[in-house]
Symmetry: C2
Subunit: 316 residues, 2 copies
Amino acid sequence: MNDLNAISIRNLLFFISVFDAQSFSIVARREEVSASMVSRSVQQLEDALGQQLFYRNTRAVIPTEAGRIFADYARAMAEQLSEAQKELQDKTLQPAGVVRVNAPVFFGQKHIAPWLAELSNRYPKLQIELSLTDDFIYPHREAADLIFRIGALADSSFHARVIGTQTYYLAASPDYINKHGEPKTPADLPQHQALVYRGSSGPNRWLFKEKHDGEKQASWVHSPVKAVLTSNNADSLFTAALTGMGLVLFPDWLIGDSLKQGKLVLLLPDYEAAIKTEPQCIAAIYPHVRHPPLNVRVLIDYFIEVYGSPLYWQLE
Amino acid sequence: MNDLNAISIRNLLFFISVFDAQSFSIVARREEVSASMVSRSVQQLEDALGQQLFYRNTRAVIPTEAGRIFADYARAMAEQLSEAQKELQDKTLQPAGVVRVNAPVFFGQKHIAPWLAELSNRYPKLQIELSLTDDFIYPHREAADLIFRIGALADSSFHARVIGTQTYYLAASPDYINKHGEPKTPADLPQHQALVYRGSSGPNRWLFKEKHDGEKQASWVHSPVKAVLTSNNADSLFTAALTGMGLVLFPDWLIGDSLKQGKLVLLLPDYEAAIKTEPQCIAAIYPHVRHPPLNVRVLIDYFIEVYGSPLYWQLE
DNA sequence: GTGCTTGGTTGCGAAAAACGCTATAATTCA
DNA sequence: TGAATTATAGCGTTTTTCGCAACCAAGCAC
């Protein structure tokens, strides 16, 4: 076994101990292993290096020239490992270093970016890399540590922390209502100006169902609309809606505060709205690993905390 | 297994390779091990550090923050080991560093010290520590790498390279002979002035036997002498003999050149002389180890070379 | 979509090693 | 000279290692 690869940290530490203690048995007792272990450990090291490290005898253990030289290196290596461990340990005790966060563009703008200042304040050693993309996830490719996603979650290779369910609302500005009137049922929609989000999988479909009156469970109905504006940029649609251009079907996190402030008016309050038939969850997703980084856990906890329960943007 | 000790250099090297190659299987192929090995190796490292090092997936291997940090340390450690190896390797190719040589005082003065200059010239990186002691060896205590000893050698924990056999001669200066006459047989010795070496085990005994005439083998006979000077310092006795104080019974390496130059005269040429009944060897002794240092081998070879064969101090 | 290939992980069994115990040789202390 | 201590070699048991095959996920070709 002339291979350097066979050297283990253990060997190095034993070697250092023996070097300092000038005795195998003292080390053996201190480390609570058999003396033969220590002896063999040093032998292994010697074989791996092809050099005698000690002259040894029943009564004396004297370092060779090579032993003295190697002791310095061994110490340096052990030192380095210990430092590495310390640095990594610190990381688990106190969040530090880079965390790469990914989120949908507009969600990030409205509900992540505003909170980052406080986050940075709370964990000064944290460096946040925020990338906002709407395309449905670059799971690993982007090497994101934490991904905010909205949708039906089903991916075994990730852990997901559900932040909440998103509710869609049909809304328009008071101006618009004054000018065009208010739809009373989804069937009225084709007469209205629709502002439609278009993602990479095509334009959103507008779905409605009557709120459950009694036990009868209505099913989702797709309402065709007249799209006067289609965009892959939610902010633009939002602005268009605020300035009275037309109706939007947007989730609560996007228009919740506008509704509360009266800048937009909730339409079809007797209907539930959606763009997908499955319930859409807002979730923080992170890679499924055995040693989840503290960084990521802390970030999730932070956002769960500031979003509150119910989520601060929800209507009720 | 949360123990740092379990980390082996192999793990580190695999980790570094994976880090650079961003792939387990590439490393596995290059290192000619199974992919599972590499995978488990990294897992081991992660368990030992308690930190995830890669986000991995069937199609991508992305370093964690912790992974990137640890990579630096791992590289540093590997670097250090490689340097250590190089330095030690150099030592096996080219003699360098400290060699601690021990020898009997007068032998060292006469037959070691004079040759050290040339030795140092030949191996400039060698640093020689010469300690001269007559007391019969401090075997390991003194941490000598190479010990010149004279006597009957029997120690299994050492290797011995026999340089030659030592022959004792009875001698006196021409002055002395002129004044006191020349002994013809050992029985004449009590009438003469004897200069006797006294070591830690008492004064030397002077033994003689007639040189083998035919097949008859005489045995050693102890001749009592009149010691006018006893000393544990051979040089002093030697000086006393040169200045005509009396007879000395000294080995060839000590008085060989004086006999050749006629400063001393060989007495009782028909007798063999000795101080011990067993043949006395001059030997270079070094610790019995599995990886004998080049330093020591080179030193022995050098002295064997300069002493020549027959040894340059021998009479014939 | 459907198959095909690639890549990381896991289970399993044989091979190897680690490890403690004991014995042994060497050496010091009383 | 015994008693004690120490490093090491031999041993058998326990643990680990490691390749093979199976598996699952993800991309690619068609």
